[in-house]
Structures are given as structure tokens and as C-alpha cells.
């Protein structure tokens, strides 16, 4: 029986098999031991803010340029959203995977044993993908919400205001909500935090207006 406990590494199940068998309960455990929820929340807000502000800036650029086809605006915003999403996924995965591998190796050194069969190894494989997805999907989803008035206008729906200013309003609203959320997370007054975010957005819009 003792020999089974001390089974050589070569006889152990490959990590990939364990990785596939991760259940929802195990996922909770992995998030807990890796403290990933805070990281994902931070990435969600930071990259979501980046995405919303980038699309707002792009739309402001089109707004001051005037006479730009709605189709061109939509395609440009979509392309930017996709690029932000891909950039978010790839950059977060590369950096998180490297950090997790390093942490796992350090822990294995301290434990003087392989942790291949442990939640720590599963977390080192799975968490970078989760973090990368959150990091990439946040700007993409926010961008898609922001440009939804443009789609509506293009499909013939009558909007109460012009599509571009309306989309910019949606962007500013999302930026406010992200700021307010950050304020609540940080324990500060949510309204003040939200208004501060709007100030950044309006400053950006103002600078683009001056350039245009």
C-alpha cells in the first residue's frame, strides 16, 4: 500500500485528464485556493473600462469627422472591439500562465514533491484561461452593448436621438456603472466613484473634440 502512495511520477495520471474532470465544485475550490476572483474582478473592470473608453473615443472621432457612413462606424467599432477582445485574451493568458507556473514550481520546491495530482496544478492550468476569457470578453461585450444603437439605426429602427450620440451616451453610462461598481468594491461612495469615471470619459471626449 505504501508503494501506491509513493507512486513514481511517471505512473500518475496526466494533468490534462485531471483538467478535463474539473467539476463546478472543484472550480470553486480552484478559485478559492488561487485567489482568482479578485484578479478576475479587477481585470473585468479595468479592461471593460478600457474597451468602453476606446469605443467612445472612436465614436467621438467619427462624430467630429461628420459625414461618415453608419456602416463604416459599425465596422470600425466592431473591429476595434474584436481587437480589444483578442488582445485581452492573449495578453492575460500569457502573463497569467507564466505567473501560475512560477508559483506552482515555487510551491513544489517548498513541498519537495510534485503537485501534479493536486488542485494547485489544476488551478495553474485552468485559471489563466478563465482570467484571459474575462479579460478579453469584458471589452468585447461592453463594446457590443455600446454599438447596439448603431445596429438598431442601421436596421431601420427609429431612435429618439441620433444613433452616434446615443451610442456615446450608452458608453458614458457603462463607464459610470463600472466606476460605481469599483467604488462599491473599494468601499468608497459609489456615486463619487462613478462620477469620477465619467469625468475621465468627458475629458477624453473633450480632447478628441479639440483635436477634431
Amino acid at each position: 500500500m505504501l508503494s501506491r502512495w509513493l507512486a513514481p511520477l511517471s505512473s500518475r495520471k496526466p494533468i490534462t485528464r485531471s483538467f478535463i474532470m474539473v467539476t463546478l465544485q472543484q472550480l470553486k475550490t480552484l478559485l478559492a485556493i488561487s485567489h482568482s476572483e479578485e484578479i478576475m474582478r479587477r481585470y473585468f473592470v479595468v479592461n471593460g473600462f478600457d474597451g468602453a473608453l476606446a469605443i467612445l473615443g472612436l465614436m467621438m472621432g467619427f462624430y467630429v469627422s461628420e459625414q461618415v457612413e453608419l456602416a463604416v462606424v459599425i465596422t470600425s467599432c466592431l473591429a476595434t472591439a474584436l481587437a480589444l477582445g483578442m488582445s485581452g485574451i492573449s495578453s492575460a493568458y500569457i502573463s497569467e500562465a507564466a505567473e501560475r507556473r512560477r508559483a506552482l514550481m515555487k510551491l513544489e520546491e517548498a513541498m519537495v514533491t510534485s503537485l501534479d495530482e493536486s488542485h494547485h496544478a489544476r488551478a495553474a492550468m485552468l485559471i489563466p484561461w478563465l482570467v484571459a476569457l474575462v479579460n478579453g470578453m469584458a471589452p468585447l461585450i461592453f463594446a457590443l452593448i455600446i454599438i447596439s444603437p448603431l445596429w438598431m439605426a442601421r436596421s431601420g429602427l427609429v431612435l429618439p436621438v441620433d444613433a452616434l450620440p446615443m451610442a456615446m451616451g450608452v458608453a458614458i453610462s457603462i463607464i459610470f456603472l463600472l466606476g460605481a461598481f469599483l467604488g462599491r468594491v473599494g468601499g468608497t461612495f459609489w456615486l463619487w466613484s462613478g462620477l469620477r469615471s465619467i469625468a475621465v470619459a468627458l475629458l477624453t471626449v473633450g480632447l478628441i473634440y479639440l483635436i477634431g
Partner: protein, 87 residues
């Protein structure tokens, strides 16, 4: 036939999961397990524990898997109580 009813183990584990979650993970294996964990030593990355498990029929293999899954390693079995049965 015999049943393992009590074991005391010397275990080394990382700081995460914490001792409470670690004890819960082991206790969850059986219906009537009582798990007492005593932290013997703490260093920068690891903790040395004395884990005492009591139950009517301890599944030691499952306990060992739970220990490994939580990133810990079993250093030694310090105490064992085994009862024989007439089944």
C-alpha cells in the same frame, strides 16, 4: 476482516487551502468521520499538521487522495487503531 477506526497522520501542506477547508475535505469522505487537525509548524510556504481521523471504517486510500488533491503530502502514519470484525 478489519476496520481502520483511527489514524494520526503527519502531513505537510501548502497554506492554501486553509486548515479548515483541508479538514472539511477529509471529513467529507465519510459519513461519520471526525477530523482533528493540529498545526505543528508554519513556515513561509508550508504548514506541518497532525491530522487525527476517527470513524467506524476509514477509507485510507480516499483520505490519501484527498490529501494529495489539496496539495499536501503524507509524511508518516503515526498512530493507527484497527478493529477486527466477524463478518
Amino acid at each position: 476482516m478489519s476496520r481502520v477506526q483511527r489514524v494520526i497522520l503527519d502531513v505537510l501542506k501548502p497554506h492554501q487551502p486553509n486548515v479548515l477547508d483541508f479538514a472539511r475535505a477529509i471529513a467529507a469522505i465519510g459519513d461519520d468521520y471526525r477530523v482533528d487537525v493540529r498545526v505543528i509548524e508554519v513556515d513561509e510556504n508550508t504548514e506541518t499538521l497532525q491530522v487525527e481521523i476517527e470513524g467506524s471504517d476509514i477509507d485510507f486510500e480516499a483520505v490519501n487522495v484527498a490529501i494529495s488533491e489539496n496539495g499536501a503530502s503524507l509524511h508518516s502514519i503515526d498512530v493507527v487503531s484497527v478493529a477486527s470484525t466477524t463478518e
